[in-house]
Amino acid sequence: MWRTENRDIERPQVMTAMEMGTSSAASKIDFAGVSKTFFARGNELQALQPVDLKVRKEEFVALVGPSGCGKSTLLNLVAGLIEPTTGTVTYDGEPVAALNFRVGYMTQKDTLLPWRTVNDNIGVSLELKCRSTSRAEAKERIAEMVDLVGLRGFEGHYPTELSGGMRKRVALARTLIYRPETLLMDEPFGALDAQLKLIMQDQLQKITQHQKMTVLFVTHDLSEAIAVADRVVVFSSRPGRIRAIRDVPLERPRDVFRVRFADSFSRLHEDLWNELKDEVIKGTDV
């Protein structure tokens, strides 16, 4: 009982209505026979072979695979930015028809608004009518986010003054601040140094566990995938299909700093790497 109430308070108005209908057994996201072919300049490019995947509510799923295997395409499908060529993508039982604003999407390319400072970029989602946050509350939450991603002191800077890693952190803060029920992340920590990566992974999984978010996390880094996720999905090279799915047997809450030294971690890592390496080699042959 307490959990549902908490969720209603924290979710923006846009989402509360949908929360009522969902049961915990149903999938949050369902890919059924989904494939995607792009047509450009008279050529066909199949990005994704038919894929079947069910993501449960509050599940953290990592998508791993060589470049160009369609991982980002899957995220774009859930966000409603593109439509599948075959199959259906279902969100909360309904097919994704238009822009899906129940997700927070952190794209590979950071799309910060160049004319806004760090603070204003982070807070932009709170300015929208569908959220109606008071300025005082917005200020507080922005400050919270700034601390979370470690950018205190840079609040008044413009994106052109920031390094790539810092811009990524702003993008992360901007996505997390409005507490979307689902997070789509496309290699969010790729540009960060090793130490910062671990810190961000730690923060991310703390938040997503606390806010009970469903997460689809794309990464190249197998260790990262195992450290943060409940399940890891390995994709083949283009055109992508699912090659392997493994549950991550590590308990939550996880200490991302130490978890890589556990035996179960190494076993899973070896298992997944065996699946992955053939695809990576195939990809580089082209």
Binding site: V14, A79, F101, S125, L128, Y158
Partner: protein
């Protein structure tokens, strides 16, 4: 420590450059004055004579002429910009409107606009109205093309990002399209300003009782070289002040572009 020393060195550098520029200008004026006195100044006049004339004018009605020209420039600029920006925003975002109307605008632009001045004088009379319309028309075209290109160059990813957060179409305009277009709009105004001034003075050259162009016309018809130089000098100063003014405004509104290392 070294950063401050660097800043000071840079400031000294700029000051040295400025000093050289002033020295260059002053010596040019000196040479003009001396050469004129030696070789005769019927066609070239002398800086001293020009300065004298400026003083005489300022005691007469130079202020009124300047005000008239500036009024024509600013009202024309405002009207033309408003029209050009709105048209640019509308056509830039709506494909069908653009397909239909843009070619028509391009064709109309092929007319050398200042040659429209006699036509406008016939329509609107010899006073300020015809000049304002001329300035407005010139500015409209420049602002339209700039805004149109600007709107088209906006990264759709930025708009999609806000859309995913739940922004309405109106909010997309307010928060992405309008601010993103500002850079292009400012660049349009920077480009339009000298053309606006040219359009106003050209119109005045052709007819009218007041304005810098009328001063030039009067001096020209009387073979008054000193008057011509004086008038041109005033226009030069006005042009510089206008450009600097725009640059200052731009630095304020487009701060985010200029802060990069």
């Amino acid at each position: 420590m070294s950063k401050e020393r660097g800043k000071r060195r840079r400031a000294d550098g700029t000051r040295t450059v400025l000093a050289w520029q002033i020295a260059f200008g002053a010596s040019a004026l000196l040479i003009w004055e001396i050469a004129g006195r030696i070789f005769g100044s019927a066609w070239t006049s002398l800086p001293s004579q020009v300065a004298e004339r400026l003083i005489v004018w300022s005691q007469q009605d130079l202020a009124r002429h300047i005000t008239v020209t500036l009024t024509e420039v600013f009202i024309g600029l405002a009207a033309g910009s408003a029209g050009g920006v709105l048209a640019g925003l509308a056509l830039g975002r709506t494909k069908t409107l653009a397909l239909v109307l843009r070619p028509i605008i391009v064709v109309l632009y092929s007319v050398p606009l200042v040659t429209m001045a006699p036509l406008l004088i016939l329509w609107f009379g010899l006073e300020m109205e015809s000049k304002i319309v001329l300035v407005g028309v010139v500015v409209f075209f420049l602002m339209f093309f700039n805004t149109f290109a600007g709107v088209q160059s906006i990264d759709t990813l930025l708009i999609e990002t806000l859309g995913l957060m739940g922004a309405t179409r109106r909010e997309e305009y307010q928060k992405v399209i309008a601010p993103a277009s500002m850079a292009w709009i400012f660049s349009g105004i920077k480009v339009s300003m000298p053309y606006a001034l040219a359009a106003a003075t050209t119109g005045e050259l052709l007819g009218g009782s007041f304005g810098m162009g009328t001063l030039l016309a009067r001096a020209g018809s009387q073979f008054d070289m000193t008057g011509l130089y004086a008038g041109l000098f005033v226009l030069l100063v006005i042009g510089i002040l206008l450009s600097e003014g725009i640059a200052l405004l731009e630095n304020h509104f487009l701060r985010w572009r200029h802060v990069a290392h």
